[in-house]
Amino acid sequence: MALIKVEQLSKSFDGKEVVKNLNFELEPGKCVALLGPNGAGKTTTLRMLAGFSKPTKGSIKFDQETLSRDIRQYIGYLPQYPVFHNWMTGKEFLMYVGQLAHMSRKEAGERATELLDRVGLGDVEKKRIGKYSGGMKQRLGIAQAMMHRPTLIMLDEPVSSLDPIGRREVLNLLMELKKEATILFSTHILNDAEEVSDEILLLKQGELIEHGSLDKLSQMYQTARLELDFRSLPEDAQEILRSLEVVEQLTVNRQTVILLVNDADLARKELLKIAAQKDWDITRFELVKSNLEDLFMKAVNR
């Protein structure tokens, strides 16, 4: 049973369609990355799921047992630029939003202390949020999203504004979070998606162009990358390689030629044959499994 079922979800602002006909389901317990370049409609999609923005068309259905109540009870949301009441302390703010989600004062207090410790803000829980640094605010943002134990946590670009250390900390937090809730987070950075997510929703200009588990996707895009180092690059090498049918893309970087090929086995055979024929002086021949970067570029650029 899917946790959320999204059908034909569309959103227009002033006649311009920013999200086009999205269809997908989220399975419980998964960590899903909403991946796409800036302006692909990631934030708009998350805001519709969180109930801030009404779909122009289509529907969002949560699983049946939660239907009768306000779905926001089951959602934790972290906007890209979270803003807090700066006059409150970190603990006060968490208790405030927890109680808004019908936690008792006592329960909210205990949960707030626990979460502040977990995100590493235990020692500043009595400090006003106005005095927190950017990274501290981002961690408080994650804590507030988890506060009322939601079944679905949505995070909008949770790591893009952070320095490498902060990014590392937040990604580790996400890994831990996976045990407690379904996670949907948006990002425009592939590595982040690759590192923590089980599934990827790839958005481009408002359209869902790929959806699936990482394994499935990399199988589907059976592109492989071949790297050849020459002692000295023969003049006709580029032309010859480009003319091969298996080669989809070719980049030259000094003495190194990088090939994207659609069939790794075939490409290897053909290349070795040509190299022997032409007597190319190759110092390195490496077959690299297609990484997500290539998939991402391929999907976004096609």
Partner: protein, 256 residues
């Protein structure tokens, strides 16, 4: 439960940003300013006015009823301005800054959100208004003669509804625009418009809440509640309820 969480948070906020101190003080100052200056004006003119020896200006001192109404007058202008200024960011400010994203991503009902915020502001304004009126009454008694407590309570009761009405108008405009400055401007415009329409079509609009100030005057002088006064109060209450309902519905159906 949820309502009281929001209500308490608003009270705490107004305490931490000192509104609970400065708003009552402003109401006290503007409440007693007119009675005091009116009382001292002749003496000041006589001492520093450079009048010829022996000449004295006598300015007739107003009766106590009139003196109390001076304070009501101040609350109708400066008071309204203060109310609008402190209410214009109540919801618009949260929507504009983005805090509302963290608050309204919880299962917060719009009814609780708006009415709790409204109630906390009404409490602050009413408390300030009542304290200010008591100070005014005290000074009027000292300087201009006796004024009964029942006259004071009547004035507070009648004019209190206008104060709440102004808060409610501003809360309503809060749900229309995201920029607090614009909210303030439009709210003031609406208050002025209500006054203008009421004075132009006065004969047909005897029950307009804008007439509450003249009913205060009538009550302070006669000590009697008339049917017109009650009708005007009733219209104010209905207006407040309708504006709140409208605000809730607008916010519910709005992109946040």
């Amino acid at each position: 439960m949820q309502w009281s969480v929001i209500f308490k948070k608003e009270l705490l906020e107004n305490w931490r940003n000192f509104k609970w101190i400065w708003v009552p003080i402003v109401f006290i100052i503007f409440g007693i300013m007119d009675p005091i200056t009116t009382y001292y004006m002749p003496k000041i003119i006589n001492t520093v006015g450079g009048l010829p020896e022996g000449a004295e200006i006598t300015i007739p001192q107003p009766p106590p009823e009139q003196a109390l109404l001076m304070s009501i007058n101040e609350y109708g202008t400066i008071g309204v301005l203060i109310i609008v200024l402190i209410t214009m960011g109540l919801i618009a400010g949260e929507l504009k800054s983005g805090v509302s994203e963290l608050v309204l991503s919880r299962p917060v009902t719009y009814t609780n959100y708006i009415t709790a915020k409204w109630a906390s502001t009404v409490l602050l304004i009413l408390a300030s208004f009542i304290i200010g009126m008591f100070f005014s009454w005290y000074y009027v008694n000292l300087l201009f003669g006796d004024l009964s407590l029942s006259q004071l309570f009547g004035a507070i009761f009648i004019y209190g509804f206008w104060m709440i009405f102004v808060v409610t108008i501003t809360v309503f405009v809060n749900t229309l625009f995201k920029v607090p400055g614009l909210v303030g401007f439009v709210s003031i415009l609406i208050v002025i418009l209500i006054h203008m329409v009421t004075s132009i079509f006065g004969r047909f609009l005897a029950y307009s809440p804008a007439n509450l100030s003249s009913y205060v005057s009538a009550y302070v002088h006669t000590g009697e509640m008339t049917a017109d006064m009650w009708s005007s109060i009733f219209v104010a209450i209905v207006g407040i309820a309708l504006l709140l309902l409208l605000s809730i519905n607008i916010l519910k159906n709005r992109e946040i």
